[in-house]
Symmetry: C2
Subunit: 291 residues, 2 copies
């Protein structure tokens, strides 16, 4: 594994190395929670290679999908992927910094979605990534999705990301929280899919100083997630719940599936460009109802 | 109710009257099946009016959504709607026969989706409609969606629609079956969503003779559905099934939800133009799993 702290290492490799290290720490933290609940559930790791067939980019790279189905974590997936190549001409024009005559790109990132067994425990999503075309930038975010919301959980989740933001830009938190509110919204139901979080994109890395600053911010976003989410899980995982609470959760998951399949840009881009289906649809809930 | 057989009645009213009559006969046939299974389940009818707020068309019309949750029919919805008005300028250009300076339209149709309790009983979809802009046309179709396919069910379903097609156009069946195979396909999984049926659109009604011919075909499509589907339900509804069969059905329904939310033109058009959510999403399965 490349050393993400070594400035002599190429940028994409440094970012990839961090995402992999973060993945390992998160999986370990989640497995520790399963142990506390008396379960021996563990993540299963599956490597995949990007297939050229039908893909909108030429071949290159792959990833590792880690999935655990446990007692507390009904289904949690953590995917780290690193791909590169050239966009097909019809896509290149739609991609930041790419063009038909300059279609090359690299992308590395971590994405995580957890659907929880107990409806009092919030579901969660977190994703950070580093992309290069003729430009280079970081993006990412995280949002909390409680079927049964608690104001203190929501406040603590937001406070953790505010801490990460405030250390790197005076306007970051307000901008990125508003961006999440705008993005994680289901127009046809006129509701948000959860209680929000942060969303950011196009943190441009024009030079080494820009890369270092944005990489440090993205690492702090990961650290904030790793700090706050296990706290919320432990707070709620032992609560009693009724069949009505479970039904509330399953109906709420139907909305979540609607958002991801109708609106989520990453999901649609992946599906329509021949990406790895299991990795793309890892975000879908293990069970949902529309009733 | 307008008489759909009276040529002096306006076309949209004749079509609407037929769709409503067909709805009533279908609901009655499905309730009879519930009685045979010892259930007293019945359709519940909910009228809705088109809301102007956020809609891409100006106000006008509404519909009736009929939903039954029974012992054989886990969830079946039959929606008849009749709306009219003017498309917003940004939509008018994308609609057959409409334009920014001629945005008026009417649309009436019936749509039906049945998700069945027993995984041996095929789910089904059927929809027929009549639209007017500066043009007038019928469209529709039906497709069979068995979680556990049986070749004789599939053959009988296709034969019924072939009969309807052959009575109206020598090339109808081949064209409309191929159209269904093309339409009801999930590209990201490289599978069809079911075993097909027929799909047709833009059967133009340039004059009274054209209207009469296409209306007669659309009625025969409805009759074919009403003939064949209850036969298939009765054939399979008493079969034993295992928990593995049920899981197969729930996973298969996840694919069905993916098709409807990612690709189905009617669903996406409805969601993005401010249509009635409950009517649009009536097609989603009562329960689905992604595992």
């Amino acid at each position: 594994m490349t050393d993400w702290t070594d400035p002599a290492t190429p940028r994409t490799e440094r970012a990839r190395s961090w995402f992999e290290a973060l993945r390992t720490r998160i999986c370990s933290a989640f497995e520790a929670i399963e142990r506390e609940a008396g379960s021996d559930a563990a993540f299963e790791y599956t490597a995949w290679d990007r297939e050229a067939d039908g893909a909108a980019v030429t071949d290159g790279g792959g990833g590792v999908r880690a999935v655990m189905k446990g007692k507390v974590f009904e289904k949690v997936g953590v995917n780290v992927s690193t791909v590169g190549g050239a966009f097909a001409p019809e896509f290149a024009g739609t991609i930041h910094g790419a063009a038909a005559d300059n279609p090359g790109f690299t992308a590395t990132g971590i994405s995580l979605v957890a659907h929880m067994a107990n409806p009092h425990v919030p579901a969660v999503h977190m994703n950070t990534r580093f992309l290069t075309t003729s430009k280079a930038w970081f993006g990412g975010g995280g949002d909390l999705n409680p079927p049964i919301p608690y104001t203190d959980d929501t406040a603590e989740f937001h406070a953790a990301f505010k801490g990460a933001c405030d250390a790197h830009g005076a306007d970051y938190y307000d901008r990125f929280k508003a961006w999440a509110d705008d993005y994680f919204y289901i127009p046809h139901r006129k509701v948000h899919r959860g209680v929000g979080g942060i969303f950011y994109d196009h943190l441009e890395c024009a030079d080494d100083a820009g890369f270092d600053a944005n990489f440090a911010f993205t690492r702090d976003v990961g650290e904030a997630f790793l700090y706050v989410y296990p706290r919320l899980v432990r707070r709620r995982m032992g609560m009693e719940f009724t069949p009505e609470d479970k039904l509330t959760q399953l109906q709420w998951r139907g909305r979540y599936a609607e958002f991801n399949l109708v609106y989520d840009r990453g999901t649609l881009f992946g599906l329509k460009t021949g990406g790895n289906i299991d990795a793309i649809l890892m975000s879908l809930p293990p069970e949902a109802v529309w009733s």
